[in-house]
């Protein structure tokens, strides 16, 4: 094993000489305590290393040992429900070893190697297997069946495989490869900075249903797509991320708390275990992995945390799951890059960020996607990144670098929040470039004219914005009747469609089909109202219609029986308007 010695140290960055042949991104152990570090620059046999822990007390002359492998994490059953730091050390094990404060040099396994699992073989003796293929499964939690994949680099004929009960290190199969007989266990390693390969990437045509009307109807995210939530401090990014984690229809959630507040993480850690999975009634934590690297934990580990998270996401994707990854906040990750870049004395780009900032951002977001995995299964990784722009200024490099590669933009709006309009996401500023790709799915699962209705609603809301400016000047009474109808209907949209009560047992999750019906009802009301004013029905009469109360209450009607309910409301709308009569 190669060993070198430190020639320079400054904060988390260490330079060591005598490491000929060491590779970029190779992991090293620094000093007597064996602090973990990673090579980030090479010059001759001198390596610059970022260290994942506090470096006080280390000096020139101390040893640096190369491990021969890049920063890798262990993958296997037992990952779910855990809470990790940025380099996948379970925080509760760290607590057992070092108490309430995180000490240095704590070495704990990522996954419990003693826990027994019941392995069920899915491949047969004598069969040919390739890397990434499924050879068996174990029940990881009440709701998730974990597929065991053939580790990378192993292709050949199965010599032995059987159902066993054993721990992670138990040999479950033996495969004869051209390099000899290989033993397969339930655990494998993967370098976090390398995307896991797939058979092919596919177009993201299936929406990630969040049950939030403002998102699903007006700015839908596709499974395998990317979205960003930018906002100044106090606009509710974290709350938005958490409710997405609770309601979106992904199989697995990976939540990365990257450089955020300790108390906020505690809130997540205290609340997630209490949350029930709305679809199964089981704890949400059963299908969740949390990475918590708070702002005062080592900065290099913060830099690594997003890679750790997305590698976990890809691993479950390869088993055929739809995975949603939330990163809160990517700005803190970018700042970690800036900090390390500064220590390397690299020539800075905009605002001191390294010139490669946007490359790194795009590389990260490109790891999202809907794919056919090597196992032949279809899986997806959707990435939702929060951004914390300094001073709320969206022209800064992280926001701009993200918007260039992200296709969905959910604009949090402070004004809406202060008006107690929740979710406080602005419908005009938000956008999604997946509208065309997911249209087919909505046609099939919501309704044939979903897109037309959605666009029409958007048009009305756009129109409202323009009208509001006039109203501010001259008051609503000065507007033509048709435009007053627009204002009335968009008010219904705001209050009864866009606003959604996260605490109401029914309204908290609105199925795409119900969203479609609700759209249809409101737009039907609009059409009837426009028709009525042509018949010279006074607008006050329309405003007084009792059916408006039915519309206001429809969000509380259960998703399952909504279709019948809708028909009733539609009928009532027709009847009400017929009664108004007018010049017919």
């Amino acid at each position: 094993m190669k060993q070198g010695k430190i020639i320079k140290i400054s904060g988390p960055v260490v330079t060591a000489a005598g490491l000929k042949g060491i590779k970029m991104y190779e992991v090293v152990r620094v000093g007597e305590q064996g602090l973990m570090g990673e090579v980030i620059e090479l010059e001759g046999d001198t390596a610059t290393i970022q260290v994942y822990e506090e470096t006080t007390g280390i000096g020139p002359g101390d040893k640096v040992i190369a491990t021969g492998a890049p920063l890798s994490i262990e993958l296997g059953p037992g990952l779910l429900s855990n809470i990790y730091d940025g380099i996948l050390r379970p925080l509760d094990l760290i607590k057992e070893q070092s108490g309430a404060f995180i000490a240095r040099g704590v070495n704990v396994p990522s996954i419990d190697h003693n826990k027994k699992w019941k392995f069920k073989a899915l491949a047969k003796k004598g069969g040919e297997v390739k890397q990434g293929q499924i050879i068996g499964e174990v029940k990881e939690s009440e709701t998730i069946t974990h597929k065991i994949l053939v580790p990378f680099g192993i292709n050949g004929k199965i010599e032995q495989i059987k159902d066993v009960e054993g721990n992670l290190d138990t040999v479950i199969a033996k495969v004869k490869t051209k390099d000899g007989l290989k033993e397969i266990t339930m655990v494998q390693k993967w370098p976090v900075r390398v995307p896991r390969p797939t058979q092919e990437k596919q177009e993201p045509t299936i929406p990630l249903v969040t049950g939030q009307r403002i998102l699903d109807t007006f700015a839908p995210l596709a499974k395998g797509g990317t979205a960003s939530i930018p906002g100044a401090f106090g606009t509710g990014k974290t709350v938005a991320q958490q409710s997405l984690a609770k309601w979106c229809d992904a199989d697995i959630i990976v939540y990365i708390g990257c450089g955020e507040r300790g108390n906020e993480m505690t809130d997540v850690l205290e609340n997630f275990p209490k949350l029930k999975d709305p679809r199964t009634g089981k704890p949400l934590l059963n299908r969740t992995i949390i990475i918590a690297n708070t702002s005062n934990m080592p900065v290099a580990a913060r830099e690594a945390s997003v890679y750790t998270g997305i590698t976990l996401a890809e691993y479950y994707r390869d088993q055929g799951f739809a995975v949603a990854l939330m990163a809160d906040s990517t700005s803190r990750w970018a700042e970690a890059m800036r900090e390390i870049s500064g220590r390397l004395e690299e020539m800075p780009g905009e605002e001191g960020y390294p010139a490669y900032l946007s490359t790194r951002l795009s590389q990260f977001y490109e790891r999202a996607g809907r794919v056919i995995a090597l196992s032949g299964k279809e899986g997806s990784v959707s990435v939702i990144g929060a951004i914390s722009p300094p001073g709320g200024d969206f022209s800064e490099p992280v926001t701009q670098g993200t918007l260039r590669v992200n296709k969905t933009f959910w604009a949090l709006d402070k004004n809406l929040a202060s008006m107690r309009h929740f979710p406080a996401i602005n419908w005009l500023d938000s956008y999604s470039l997946y509208l065309d790709t997911v249209e087919g799915w909505y046609k099939e699962n919501a309704g044939e004219d979903w897109r037309a209705l959605r666009d029409k609603a958007m048009e009305l809301l756009q129109k409202e914005e323009e009208l509001q400016e006039i109203v501010q000047l001259v008051g609503p009474d000065a507007l033509p009747v048709a435009e007053r109808v627009v204002l009335e209907v968009t008010k219904i949209f705001r209050e009864d469609f866009l606003q959604q009560n996260a605490y109401h047992e029914v309204d908290a999750f609105c199925s795409p089909r119900k969203q479609y019906f609700m759209l249809k009802i409101i737009l039907h009301f609009y059409d009837q109202a426009m028709d009525a004013i042509k018949r010279k029905v006074p607008i006050d009469e329309i405003n007084k219609l009792d059916v408006k109360n039915d519309i206001a209450r429809m969000k509380e009607h259960p998703n399952e029986t909504f279709e019948k309910h809708m028909e009733k409301i539609m009928e009532k709308i027709d009847k009400s308007f017929n009664k108004l009569g007018g010049g017919r």
Binding site: E54, D62, V299, A336, G342, E351
Partner: protein, 460 residues
């Protein structure tokens, strides 16, 4: 303990020394420097290379030379001596007693940099702290384990507010031990004197530990002052079981010192010349607030910072706002109108408020009253702008009521004397009194049952 003394200083630049031909130097270790007159100074290794060490000198580099000054590397990290006896004492920014009394006898020595609290070991803050200030207690409630900064400007009475909070802060209905740690960074002698006099006059000094770095003390010392103060806070909280309130003032001076060192080291600057690691550095201070499961004590922080030009998007308030759990904004406009404390509740926020209020903690109507007053005051304030354009006559009767509310909110609710310690019940009752100006139908944010119970009945 290392004995070697070096007289091989190659370069002195700003607060930094470059020492050559050294051996066995480690990053972050403490350095003892002796100048040609035998005066001792302290420093810390910022960078260690083979044979070379870069040392930052806390007391400044005045009187140091490259010929006779000697440097000794102690092999230890910066530690502070701690004891329960610290309470009631005044120390320098480096933790030396400056009140004329002898050194404390340490019960324990702890590293000033502290360690990160494991997020799984934290307990979520939810115990209401009554500061006796209506604008804070009712509108932006402080809870134990929170970090809630005062965002102020030069020329505003943030010190008076901080002193009042330090004097009055208590948790209702509990006889627990409580301490205040006061860390001054680069404030003037007069300001420090104001705090000390106030604490002594009111008897608050008996439960206070002060660490004072004045404006003419070396800037570099300011890097260490908050760290020592927070280490003392952690010691009192988590080893002695006390509830500690830490006041850090002025964080702007701290950040300037940080920038000074970064510039002296020729580091690549981030925004406005502040170092790129300022977010992490500030987080390492602010995140030392909190509560730990299974331990009785807590650390609560009130950092004070003066926003240059009142600009809230300046890197110092901006980065602070992203780390702290809200902010209390002190407003020039209110101050000009003679309102004390001039706290503008509209841009102020306490993120942990909801967990700390309600039945059993403050009062069941608290959340509704706070929301209603916030929105009514916001409405009144925006109407003021309108009045400036169209005149008051153009307003509807309802609008005029909102104007009246906004005015009386500032005069009767926000305003209180510097010695007035208002109980939360009193604050809420004043709130109800003021809200009764508005028609009942306008109180949409308060539950009907609370309106029935608390709204003063009018005679007409």
């Amino acid at each position: 303990m290392k004995k070697t003394e070096y007289k091989t200083i190659k370069e002195i630049a700003g607060p930094l020394l470059v020492v050559e031909n050294v051996e066995d130097v480690t990053y972050g270790e403490l350095v003892e420097i002796t100048d040609s007159n035998g005066q001792k100074k302290n420093g810390q290794v910022l960078e260690a290379r083979e044979g070379v060490a870069v040392v930052q000198v806390f007391e400044g580099t005045r009187d140091l030379d490259t010929k006779d000054t000697s440097v000794r590397f102690t092999g230890e990290t910066m530690k502070v001596a701690l004891s329960g006896e610290m309470i009631g004492r005044v120390f320098s920014g480096l933790g030396k007693p400056i009140d004329g009394n002898p050194d404390i006898i340490p019960e324990k020595k702890m590293d000033v940099n502290g360690l990160a609290i494991n997020p799984t070991a934290r307990e979520f803050p939810e115990e209401f702290i009554q500061t006796g200030v209506s604008a804070i207690d009712t509108m932006n409630t402080l809870v134990r384990g929170q970090k809630l900064p005062l965002f102020s400007e030069a020329g505003l009475p943030h010190n008076e507010i901080a002193a009042q909070i330090a004097r009055q802060a208590k948790v209702l209905g509990k006889g627990e031990s409580f301490a205040v740690i006061f860390a001054a960074m680069g404030i003037t002698f007069e300001e420090a004197k104001f705090f000390m006099n106030d604490f002594e006059r009111t008897g608050a000094m008996e439960r206070m530990v002060a660490f004072i770095n004045l404006a003419d003390d070396p800037a570099i010392e300011r890097i260490i002052t908050p760290r020592i103060a927070l280490t003392a806070a952690e010691y009192l909280a988590f080893e002695k079981g006390m509830h500690v309130l830490v006041i850090l003032t002025d964080m702007t001076n701290y950040c300037e010192a940080l920038r000074e060192i970064a510039a002296a080291r020729n580091e690549i600057p981030g925004r406005r010349g502040y170092p790129g690691y300022m977010y992490t550095d500030l987080a390492n201070l602010y995140e030392r607030a909190g509560k730990i499961k299974g331990k009785p004590g807590s650390v609560t922080q009130i950092p004070i910072l003066t926003m240059p030009q009142g600009d809230i998007s300046h890197p110092i308030p901006d980065l602070t706002g992203y780390i702290t759990e809200g902010q209390i904004v002190v407003s020039k406009e209110l101050h000009r109108n003679n309102i004390f404390p001039p706290i503008d509740v509209l841009p102020s926020l306490s993120r942990l408020m909801n967990e700390g209020i309600g039945a059993g903690k403050t009062r069941e109507d608290h959340s509704g009253v706070a929301n209603q007053m916030y929105s009514a005051y916001a409405q009144g304030r925006s109407l003021r702008d309108l009045v400036a354009v169209v005149g008051e006559e153009a307003l509807s009767d309802l609008d005029k009521k909102f104007l009246i509310f906004a005015k009386s909110f500032e005069d009767k609710f926000i305003t209180q004397s510097k010695n007035e310690n208002r109980a939360i019940d009193t604050s809420l009752n004043i709130g109800w009194d003021l809200l009764s100006v508005l028609p009942k139908e306008e109180l949409k944010k308060i539950k009907l049952e609370f309106i029935e119970k608390f709204l003063p009945k009018k005679n007409d």
